[in-house]
């Protein structure tokens, strides 16, 4: 499992769309608060691997590409543990 505190430091850019509280600022974007950690890991890797394409994936692919496996684990832990 990831390190939520380390994830928080990496998650500032995520918050621009997904909200500082994990509730998305725009209806077309997903809330991440309390989402399953493993699902968040899988989704970020899917974007990084270009297995998700289309409009919003064009935003998420380059974001995910900037994260290594540890970053992905940590950011996922951070959002999954939000109450």
């Amino acid at each position: 499992a990831g390190d939520a505190a380390a994830g928080k430091a990496k998650a500032a850019v995520c918050s621009a769309c997904h909200g500082a509280d994990g509730i998305a600022v725009i209806p077309g974007y997903p809330n991440l608060k309390g989402q399953n950690e493993q699902y968040l890991v899988n989704s970020l890797k899917a974007y990084k691997n270009k297995e998700r394409t289309g409009a919003m994936a064009m935003m998420m692919q380059p974001q995910a590409a900037m994260l290594n496996d540890n970053d992905i684990a940590n950011v996922s832990a951070y959002f999954s543990q939000m109450k």
Copy 2:
């Protein structure tokens, strides 16, 4: 916006993995309870359009393919309105 009551009738199959209460039964799957309606619509259409590929997308593509636009709107309303 979709019709949540109509969506409920279509959502029995979704519940097998995403939970009758919208909390996924397996950590690798996303919780859908209270998720943004428009995001759920976008995601289902992305699966239907094969814009999401990879392991779990192989499950979701054929599920989404069975839903027309009204079904997608209704199922999305159903899960987004879960408390």
